[in-house]
């Protein structure tokens, strides 16, 4: 069964030029200059329980698509069905079926304690008291937020707040979780913890996850499929393993060791730089999965610190884009 189906979804905005001047000048109608196409002819389908990354560079149309899927933005044309509802026509009914987390926006009330915000959300969504208590207990355990419940949201660190935000989005028991840049601004440890929590959630509860992110780590750790868009149009829709094999190039691992002259050999791994107590490896992820290389390094070397340098996503997109342009040119020829 499909959790989301999208067909020929298009959104354009009129680019209007505001008149210069103060308040009264703003009362005059803005000059309408042209239409800006943000999402064009987008079609895809996501099955229930899938974990899908929705990725693309800045301005690709990810957030606009997400807004259309949640019903807070109406498309110019095309159709979509989310959890059985047409989002922009049945926004309020849809709200009960989906959970949404915008990494840069909060749904918690800053001046209230986290527990108060949760209680309020439970009531807003009409969650029955016993169900609410059980669900809250599970979410507290899953996201390890027991110690945060009596703190005001304004006092939380970004990582703590995001764990609470995701728990808040799940309080009404949605079958679909939409996440817009959930790890933005988090440090490495907080990112890893949040990814683990999301992974466990999806695997154990069967929650469908649609995630937008610039972070390849989010995509690799959480998702099994990637939909890549660029300039509002669908570029690729592939299982993650295939995407990695096709487009992710080598990644760098920096190992700081207690060993003065560290050495490391592994199929698919080349040494980029070797210094006293430090070695930089280039891992060809097509042949050597990064997790296996890290495990081998930790086993063989006395590692003091380890840094995995992600391939900048812009690079991945460029590679994909170059590849697709080349393929299209080839097909045309």
């Amino acid at each position: 069964m499909a959790a989301i189906t999208v067909s020929n979804l298009t959104k354009s905005f009129p680019a209007a030029e505001r008149r210069a001047g103060g308040f009264f000048a703003r009362l005059l109608p803005a000059r309408h200059t042209h239409e800006v196409m943000v999402v064009r002819d987008l079609s895809f389908s996501i099955a229930a329980g899938e974990r899908v990354a929705f990725i693309g560079p800045n301005g690709a149309g990810k957030s606009t698509t997400l807004k259309m899927l949640t019903g807070i933005l109406e498309p110019t044309s095309g159709i979509a069905e989310v959890a059985g509802f047409v989002p922009w026509r049945q926004r309020r009914q849809l709200a009960y079926a989906i959970g949404i987390v915008f990494g840069q926006r909060s749904q918690l009330w800053h001046q209230l304690r986290v527990r108060q915000s949760f209680d309020l959300l439970g009531k807003l969504y009409g969650v029955e008291a016993t169900t609410y208590a059980l669900r809250l207990q599970r979410l507290v355990e899953r996201f390890d937020i027991g110690g945060l419940l009596e703190r005001r949201a304004a006092e939380l660190s970004l990582g703590q707040r995001l764990r609470c935000e995701i728990a808040a989005a799940l309080l009404h028991g949605p079958s679909l979780l939409l996440l817009d840049e959930p790890t933005i601004g988090l440090d490495v440890t907080a990112k890893a913890a949040l990814r683990d929590h999301l992974n466990a959630l999806s695997r154990e509860d069967g929650t469908t996850v649609l995630l937008t992110s610039h972070d390849t780590g989010d995509i690799e750790r959480i998702c099994e499929r990637a939909i890549v868009i660029d300039r509002g149009a669908l570029l690729l829709d592939l299982p993650l393993e295939e995407l990695r094999q096709r487009y992710l190039g080598p990644r760098a691992i920096v190992l700081e060791t207690h060993e003065p002259q560290p050495a490391f050999a592994y199929p698919g791994v080349t040494i980029l730089a070797a210094e006293p107590y430090r070695i930089t490896l280039s891992v060809d992820t097509k042949t050597a999965p990064i997790e296996q290389v890290i495990a081998a390094a930790l086993q063989r070397l006395p590692v003091r610190d380890l840094i995995v340098e992600d391939t900048p996503f812009e690079e991945v997109i460029k590679t994909i884009y170059r590849g697709e342009a080349h393929r299209r040119a080839h097909v045309a020829a």
Partner: protein
């Protein structure tokens, strides 16, 4: 379905109440200012030969109690439109649209809870200050429940206006200038410091037929021996409640439609 929505509305009301309880310093500051305003006008009217005015003239004690009620409403109402304006300009309104309760209804419920707490606290402050200054109990003390009911209706009218004023930011980017015009009209046509009964005939008729009279003059006039019919005052308030309620609903829908069409 209705039960679930009513529970959600009550939860919003409760949130407003709890938020008001947390704002202790704001309440303290407003209470002091409220008391100072009453003291200044009491001193002014003591030094002014009010009784020499032509026609019906309230005593200065009646005037102070009238002012205590109208200022009570003005202080409790505040400038809440700014919250909606900020939600719109920051884009935070999108989060509210994602919830199952309409934004306008949820906001009004929250503001009502907030207002209820402020009403209770500021009523004590105003009553104490007016009693202390005049040395007398309020005129017609048995009308106190009617004053509270009328003030609650007046505040509901003001909150609906403020919600619409906040929504103006969707079209103009700011609400402030429209709010200031509305506030001056409230001041003049609502009869904030002098009852409408003291106005020149034409202005009085215009004012009495405006919604502003239902927001300030109606509850204030309950302490005056003005001859104005109590039933008429409440009927006027209920009429404006219906009109402004319909307008608020229409504006709220227009705002949502625009946001959904053009984005936050």
């Amino acid at each position: 379905m209705w039960r679930r929505e009513l529970q959600a509305l009550f939860a919003c009301w409760r949130l407003g109440w709890d938020q008001a309880r947390e704002q202790r310093m704001a309440v303290l500051g407003q209470s002091v200012l409220y008391g100072v305003v009453l003291a200044i006008f009491w001193a002014l009217w003591t030094a002014t030969p009010i009784h020499e005015l032509q026609g019906w003239t309230p005593t200065r004690e009646e005037l102070l109690w009238y002012l205590a009620i109208t200022e009570w409403i003005v202080f409790v109402a505040g400038a809440r439109y700014r919250q909606v304006e900020a939600e719109i300009t920051s884009g935070a309104i999108e989060s509210a649209l994602l919830r199952p309760l309409p934004h306008g209804l949820a906001t009004l419920a929250r503001w009502s809870g907030n207002t209820a707490w402020y009403m209770a606290v500021m009523a004590v402050v105003g009553m104490a200050a007016a009693w202390l200054l005049t040395g007398h109990a309020p005129p017609h003390p048995l009308r106190a429940p009617l004053v509270v009911l009328s003030a609650a209706l007046a505040l509901l009218l003001i909150l609906m206006c403020q919600l619409q004023l906040g929504y103006v930011a969707v079209w103009f980017g700011v609400s402030g200038p429209v709010f200031w015009i509305w506030q001056k009209l409230l001041f003049v046509f609502g009869g904030l410091q002098f009852p409408l009964l003291l106005y020149p005939d034409l202005l009085r008729r215009v004012a009495e037929n405006s919604p502003f009279a239902a927001m300030l003059f109606a509850p204030g006039s309950l302490v005056l021996d003005s001859g104005a019919g109590i039933v008429g005052l409440f009927a006027g308030q209920l009429l404006w409640l219906a009109i402004l309620g319909a307008m608020t609903l229409a504006v709220s829908r227009a705002v949502t439609a625009r946001l959904v069409r053009t984005g936050g």
